[in-house]
């Protein structure tokens, strides 16, 4: 099965762990990922203040997608997912905004958006298109005994009206559960921690250290005190605050915020029998590698 895929800047560079693990499990599941050609940044939310111009970069990527003969694209990064969905929604609304988007594309000598693009999130795609049964069939190393706290962040389910995860797949916008279902299918113990959709403050990660430290600290300590061994992520921006800058969260709320953090795709990869090195588990700044090595070496506790 051929699937168009948009990795984005972050996954191409420092968050390669998310990209590589997405590709590894996609291959296991019989998907052929075709990258959107000549990608540009999605704008990362930073151009929103400039109104319609904020649609230019996502529209450029969507136009390339359509030009490749695809109308549906799978996106792992939640920020790209949100930005591309937001523009696909503007395309769907049509009218003056769409005309202006098309004329910006024309001015840049880029192809027009000739069909309605559909933007899908990898998590939702795995659960709904591939199916939990199919995923469960491939599990070689069940995650039995591993207590996983799913963390969705914001942009996977908000704003609901723009996103296919809610509109097409029927995800619950207040209490999303696809990652819960997926982790349960891998044999993991799913930890409910009530911070699943709490914002990590990622937009102001650099500019507002105090708030970012408090928000990330609260998420990590809530998950930890609920008994989690690991927080499962789906957004590289969240990874910035919860993993790479976890020291800031620990500095704000103390040791209770020290928790291994991994992408959910890495956990699927482990369950499919891949080595942690193959999935770049060591790229995580938190001690995810230590946790996974311990988990794999002690079959007794499973």
């Amino acid at each position: 099965m051929q699937t168009a895929y948009f990795p984005g800047c972050s996954l191409k560079t420092i968050d390669r762990a998310y990209d590589v693990s997405t590709r590894v499990i996609a291959q296991d599941l019989g998907m052929t990922l075709v990258d959107v050609e000549d990608y540009s940044c999605c704008g990362a939310g930073e151009l929103k203040g400039e109104g319609l111009k904020s649609h230019f970069l996502p529209a450029r990527n969507l136009a390339h997608l359509i030009n490749q003969g695809e109308t549906e694209v799978m996106v792992s990064c939640n920020v790209c997912y949100h930005e591309l969905s937001r523009t696909a929604y503007a395309v769907k609304q049509g009218g003056v905004h769409l005309d202006q988007i098309q004329s910006m594309l024309k001015a840049a000598d880029e192809p027009q958006i000739l069909e309605q693009p559909t933007v899908r999130n990898t998590l939702e795609y795995l659960v709904n298109v591939i199916g939990l049964d199919e995923i469960a069939k491939r599990v070689r190393v069940p995650l039995t005994g591993l207590r996983v706290a799913p963390y969705y962040g914001c942009l996977y389910q908000r704003p609901a009206k723009m996103l296919s995860s809610v509109q097409i797949a029927g995800e619950d916008t207040e209490h999303p559960h696809f990652m819960h279902d997926l982790m349960a299918a891998l044999g993991a113990t799913v930890v409910e921690h009530r911070a699943e959709t709490t914002c990590c403050g990622g937009k102001n990660l650099l500019s507002d250290e105090k708030i970012s430290g408090r928000l990330t600290g609260r998420i990590l300590s809530t998950a930890k005190s609920s008994g989690a061994d690991v927080l499962a992520l789906m957004c590289p921006k969240c990874a910035g605050g919860l993993d790479a800058l976890q020291f800031r969260a620990i500095g704000t709320v103390g040791e209770s915020a020290q928790l291994p953090v991994m992408y959910y795709t890495q956990l699927i990869g482990i369950a499919f029998g891949h080595r942690p090195e193959e999935l770049h588990v060591g790229d995580m700044e938190s001690d995810a590698m230590g946790l996974i090595r311990q988990f794999l070496s002690e079959p007794a506790i499973r």
Partner: protein, 231 residues
């Protein structure tokens, strides 16, 4: 006791809106204590509707007129619980009644929106609140750039510059530009980030960020991004 400590949602009010006297007698009756907390009467003498015109004319702010001031946005807001005075419902109110002075007084607060879209999701009237607040923030940035937080401006300018120049984001390069704009480039080699930087050099991620490249014909797209006037 702190001023106005008996007020529910005290964090949404500013100190100078609250009046409290140690001894207060009104019409011969002593009302010191719990009953002497009052809010200043608000008198609208000058309305400056600049902000309203600007926000509703922008592509991201046009839904502002749907607002019925119900407060669902603020009830769920991530930042309202963290930053005293951060109150999206009130920001929209100020814009619509033309309270430019109040908006400007809060120029350093409004930008702290984290864009989590809880407000947009909760709004019963289809206001895209998160983007309306962004639009108000942009209006303030044009009106009173000098009042904006330095870190906020540096963050925005660094993102803008990286996007314009390369069309793709390299996060280490972004962070370096952000810190050097604030004269804090030393932190790049400080104890907090050094370890991560060394690991990225060793495992090849640093090289990947350098080789991220530009999209084809980026110059043309860049000139579209640089064009001014479009909102």
């Amino acid at each position: 006791m702190a001023k106005g400590s008996g007020i529910i949602e005290r964090s949404l009010l500013q100190d100078d809106q609250i009046m409290e006297e140690d001894n207060l007698v009104m019409d011969g009756i002593d009302i010191s204590g719990r009953w002497n907390t009052m809010l200043k009467t608000r008198v609208h003498s000058e309305r400056d509707l600049d902000s309203w015109d600007d926000v509703r004319a922008s592509a991201i702010g046009e839904s502002i007129d749907n607002c019925i001031q119900c407060g669902m946005c603020t009830a769920g807001c991530t930042v309202a619980h963290e930053v005293p005075g951060f109150n999206p419902r009130q920001f929209i109110y100020w814009v619509r009644v033309g309270r430019k002075d109040d908006l400007i007084k809060n120029a350093d607060i409004i930008w702290r929106c984290v864009g989590c879209y809880i407000c947009t999701n909760h709004c019963p009237k289809e206001v895209n609140t998160a983007e309306v607040i962004e639009s108000i923030g942009q209006w303030l940035r044009k009106q009173v750039p000098e009042k904006m937080d330095q870190a906020y401006l540096a963050n925005h300018e660094a993102y803008r510059h990286q996007l314009e120049t390369y069309g793709r984001l390299s996060l280490p390069r972004l962070q370096a530009e952000f810190l050097s704009k604030l004269g804090r480039q030393k932190e790049l080699f400080g104890p907090d980030l050094r370890q991560a930087a060394i690991r990225m050099l060793k495992d090849g991620r640093a090289l990947k960020t350098l080789l991220i490249g530009r999209p084809r014909h980026w110059n043309r797209s860049r000139s579209v991004l640089m064009e001014s006037g479009q909102t």
